[in-house]
């Protein structure tokens, strides 16, 4: 099964739309609720990162009997030092974004903790790609 969602940079009022859709889909597919919870946390954080840090992006989701694969491809500033970005508490979010309670620097750590495999690749000045895999019988 394949799904795609577009994400608009800067539009916080729509943040979480794809996560909410995926949650519904996974529930309908009778996926273990514990797995649904983890995937939803990871996708929400990845989705919000496009909204908060990039210009626009597309989410590609593939589900088969073994795994859920999510790929988020954005056009944006990219991440110069991915290892640094992965550290808990590191954030370049603007003061406005922080005031809303985003920008705690916990998004990438949440994604890591809630997926079986996380791969972040990025080209500065071009964009970022996040790939997350969750196995259904883990």
């Amino acid at each position: 099964m394949h799904f795609e969602f577009n994400v608009e940079g800067g539009n916080f009022s729509k943040a979480g739309t794809a996560s909410s859709q995926l949650k519904k889909i996974l529930k309908q597919l009778n996926v273990d609720p514990r797995i649904v919870k983890r995937v939803v946390v990871a996708l929400y954080e990845a989705e919000v990162n496009i909204v908060a840090h990039a210009f626009s992006g597309t989410i590609y989701i593939d589900i088969d009997t073994e795994k859920i694969e999510i790929k988020l491809v954005d056009e944006g500033p990219g991440i110069p030092d991915i290892e640094l970005a992965m550290q808990q508490g590191y954030s370049t979010a603007s003061p406005e974004v922080r005031e809303m309670g985003f920008g705690a620097g916990m998004g990438l750590p949440n994604m890591k903790n809630n997926t079986d495999r996380l791969l972040v690749t990025s080209e500065v000045g071009k964009g970022t790609t996040v790939e997350m895999t969750t196995y259904l019988n883990s």
Partner: protein, 112 residues
């Protein structure tokens, strides 16, 4: 304990999402950092915060939270209120500060 009973006992105003007053509460989580709630709140928790925008309801819904308590007299933005009603997740209000709400809710949920 149901949201309704907590609202009554702690004297909280039901601001919106009244259709969810029968939601069952199994504990609380207090934070104004959205990723913290995303990472650590548990389904069935009541979320205590001063954030008043729509993303609060997006998270409450994604995490299957029972209700949201806004402290210090804060009121939800119009789009937060609308989503609370759509999702049947009540938003409750109080003039108390977070520390006071936490203490009262903790005692109530733990039968003290």
């Amino acid at each position: 304990m149901k949201v309704k009973e907590i609202a009554e006992k702690l004297n909280l105003t039901v601001i919106c999402g009244g259709n969810g007053l029968d939601n069952e509460v199994n504990g609380g989580y207090s934070s104004d950092l959205l990723s913290d709630v995303m990472g650590s709140a548990q389904a069935g928790n009541i979320w205590i915060t001063l954030q008043t925008h729509k993303n609060v309801m997006a998270i409450a819904s994604l995490k299957d939270l029972a209700a949201v308590i806004l402290v210090k007299g804060f009121l939800p933005d119009a789009d937060m209120e609308a989503q609370s009603n759509e999702e049947n997740i009540p938003v409750l209000g109080t003039n108390d500060e977070t520390f006071e709400v936490n203490g009262k809710l903790f005692n109530l949920l733990n039968g003290k």
